[in-house]
């Protein structure tokens, strides 16, 4: 079945925050999914596939992992549509499923990396960012810095900066109080700047500068 994904170009604006009230624009889609209709799944992918993939890629850092995670999220969506209670927007629920899937995946990967019996020969200190650098890939420095953040901080920054969610939507997605979103975002941005400062100090020329020396925080 052909299922074109909504374009995701560099000029594509993040989705506008949805009002707290009113009909969910995905209401009919949810009904189709609850009936187990494959067309409903195709429509869900057409509307939200690019967003899920992008979020998974920025969370996990590796293309094959993002592809696999996207598949798992949509299959889970298809199987669990009946459990969607409708207390939040469908897109919010989908963001939550995606973030939780990625966090769970990263945690499993972390545990496997530190388990000497797991057979995983990857260096536990080497995440996707270090792997990109080791392969000499000229990635955006911000992308690499992001992958060095704690996964929970990465998630909240991505929901705001990449997906354009409002504080209220982030709170619903992560199931945290709305007041906590503001402090966590601020802390995540501070940590990201701190990492940028360390990175610039360590290697100012190897893979491009995110910040000019003048912009580096001194505290």
């Amino acid at each position: 079945m052909e299922c074109p994904v909504a374009p995701a170009g560099p000029n594509r604006a993040p989705p506008a925050p949805v009002p707290a009230s009113g009909m969910d624009p995905d209401h009919a889609l949810v009904l189709a999914l609850r009936r187990g209709e494959h067309d409903g799944l195709a429509e869900a992918y057409r509307r939200h596939g690019a967003r899920v993939y992008r979020l998974a890629l920025r969370m996990l850092g590796r293309t094959p992992d993002a592809e696999d995670a996207t598949q798992e999220v949509f299959l889970e969506l298809f199987e669990r549509a009946r459990s969607f209670a409708g207390r939040s927007r469908f897109s919010t629920w989908l963001h939550r499923v995606t973030v939780n899937h990625c966090l769970h995946r990263l945690e499993k990967e972390r545990l496997r990396a530190v388990d000497p019996l797991s057979g995983d020969e990857r260096d536990p200190a080497r995440g996707p960012a270090e792997e990109h650098l080791a392969r000499g890939e000229a990635r955006e420095s911000l992308e690499l810095l992001l992958l060095r953040l704690a996964p929970a901080q990465r998630a909240i920054l991505l929901l705001r900066e990449i997906e354009g969610l409002s504080y209220q939507e982030i709170a619903e997605t992560l199931e945290i109080p709305a007041g906590t979103v503001m402090s966590r975002l601020s802390r995540a941005r501070e940590d990201l700047l701190r990492l940028a400062r360390l990175e610039e100090a360590r290697n100012a020329t190897a893979h491009g500068a995110v910040l000019s020396p003048d912009a580096l925080p001194q505290t």
């Binding site: 079945m1 299922c3 994904v5 374009p7 995701a8 170009g9 560099p10 594509r12 993040p14 187990g36 494959h38 799944l41 195709a42 992918y45 596939g49 690019a50 993939y53 992008r54 890629l57 920025r58 993002a66 592809e67 996207t70 598949q71 949509f74 299959l75 298809f78 199987e79 669990r80 549509a81 009946r82 459990s83 955006e140 420095s141 911000l142 992308e143 992001l146 705001r160 900066e161 990449i162 504080y167 503001m182 402090s183 975002l185 601020s186 941005r189 501070e190 990201l192 700047l193 940028a196 995110v210 910040l211 000019s212 003048d214 912009a215 580096l216 925080p217 001194q218 505290t219």
Partner: protein, 162 residues
């Protein structure tokens, strides 16, 4: 966000972050703090530069064949018609029913034996003579294996010889 009039640096950083997201109601305390705090002005410039970097990270698209892979796997599965928790509860209820039914049959059989059915009583005298004078329900509850006696022959060795 409504920061106090006399901001500390940590509050100013929070206010800068909130302003970036258009979530700061009153920026006057922040501006006053920035006027006298160079580290926070540097923090502000750093946030502004990071903000320009996010745009490039939005420009990704999934591979063209990803939907085909999802669809193939979805068609190989059936959506769950009943939530997992409900299915577990139903399975437990069914197991309990089977258990109770088995217990009931065992009790009924013992009642028949103890009422004087000679063939079954003969086997019971050999296998568990201590149970003959006790309450059938308590016996089966204590020794569910007694239900297996129903599978034994219903004739006594004496009858076979005849």
């Amino acid at each position: 966000m409504k920061p106090s009039r006399d901001l500390e640096c940590v509050d100013a950083r929070g206010a800068l972050s909130a302003r970036l997201d258009a979530e700061l109601d009153d920026e006057r305390p922040l501006l006053a703090h920035l006027e006298r705090c160079e580290p926070c002005r540097q923090h502000e410039r750093g946030l502004a530069q990071l903000a320009r970097g996010w745009q490039a990270l939005r420009a990704v698209a999934p591979p063209a064949d990803l939907w085909e892979r999802i669809e193939r796997r979805a068609r190989a599965r059936r959506p769950r018609s009943v939530p997992r928790a409900l299915r577990v509860a139903l399975a437990n209820a069914a197991a309990a029913l089977v258990g109770f039914a088995g217990l009931g049959l065992g009790v009924r059989w013992l009642e028949v034996v103890l009422a004087g059915a000679p063939r079954e009583r003969h086997w019971l005298e050999h296998l568990a003579p201590e149970v003959l004078d006790r309450d059938p329900a308590a016996l089966v509850a204590a020794r569910p294996e007694l239900q297996l006696l129903r599978t034994f022959p219903t004739t006594t060795p004496d009858e076979e010889r005849r």
